[in-house]
């Protein structure tokens, strides 16, 4: 009669084993694979379950201690790791290439959008844009607007002003800037804002959210 613990202490059991008889009379241990242990564990019935649970810990301990099993697993994992690493590197290369392509596309799209904007602007407007990063637009509603471009955004960059240069309010309105998951070049938004203000101001600004709305400073002081 031998116990698992005794055999393990003597170094006779260094791999996962299952008892073939009852716990108290076990004289032999059958080496098993991890899969078999797991199946045995899952499939044991009531009485055996007790034994199974009783012996789960020693079996698990032996499994963990077993250098041979461990080394075997390491070798296998090393092969797997190499393959996984190769796949990861390949994926990274593909993602990097896609990202570079996306950036290149964005750069081209941005350049084209700026070209389009410049093509629409008058010479004076282009000069103002170059010098001040904004364009003065006389809206079709008769108001004067600054289309600001220094912040590289289409949010809140339209300022209604007057002949004194007083700021009368700031509008946030722009063409939809998302095309599926891609964001359109900011300059495309400026094109839409420029055209909207210049030729369709009432309709365009009917979508706007306004902030900082105030009366003309000169008019206030005169009142």
């Amino acid at each position: 009669m031998a116990t698992y613990a005794a055999n393990a202490t003597l170094g006779q059991i260094i791999r996962p084993h299952l008892a073939t008889t009852t716990v108290s009379t076990t004289a032999a241990w059958t080496p098993v694979t991890n899969d078999r242990i797991w199946q045995y564990w899952l499939n044991t019935t009531s009485t055996a379950t007790t034994a199974s649970i009783t012996w789960q810990q020693p079996i698990w301990d032996a499994w963990v201690r077993d250098d041979r099993v461990y080394q075997q697993r390491m070798v296998f994992n090393q092969q797997q790791a190499d393959e996984m690493q190769a796949r990861r590197e390949q994926r990274s290369r593909e993602q990097l290439a896609a990202e570079q392509q996306r950036m290149e596309n964005r750069f081209v799209a941005h350049s084209r959008a700026l070209d389009l904007l410049d093509n629409l602007l008058t010479e004076d407007e282009r000069a103002t844009r170059d010098e001040q990063q904004r364009v003065a637009v006389l809206g079709s509603d008769g108001h004067l607007y600054w289309l600001e471009m220094h912040r590289e955004t289409v949010h809140g960059n339209i300022v209604r002003t007057d002949e004194h240069g007083c700021m009368l309010g700031r509008a946030c309105v722009a063409p939809g800037m998302r095309d599926g998951y891609e964001v359109l070049p900011t300059a495309d938004g400026w094109v839409g804002q420029y055209l909207g203000l210049k030729f369709d101001a009432v309709n365009f600004l009917s979508h706007a959210n306004w902030s900082g709305v105030r009366r003309c400073r000169v008019a206030r002081e005169a009142a």
């Binding site: 063409p175 800037m177 839409g192 030729f199």
Partner: protein, 61 residues
Amino acid sequence: MWDPANPDEVAAAKAAFDAAKKKKMLAYAVDPETGGKTGEVIREFDPQRGKIVMVRQTAGG
């Protein structure tokens, strides 16, 4: 921009126009020579224009 005398370019431009209108984009007329005198909002495709600007639907910020 397209060449009004080139049927292939006109067809491609019309297809692009129709696709953009389906997305409810606005079309503005553009002078093909100067880029100026723009602004007329276009409802129907006109092959003689040679150049238009399509702008996505407006949204408040």
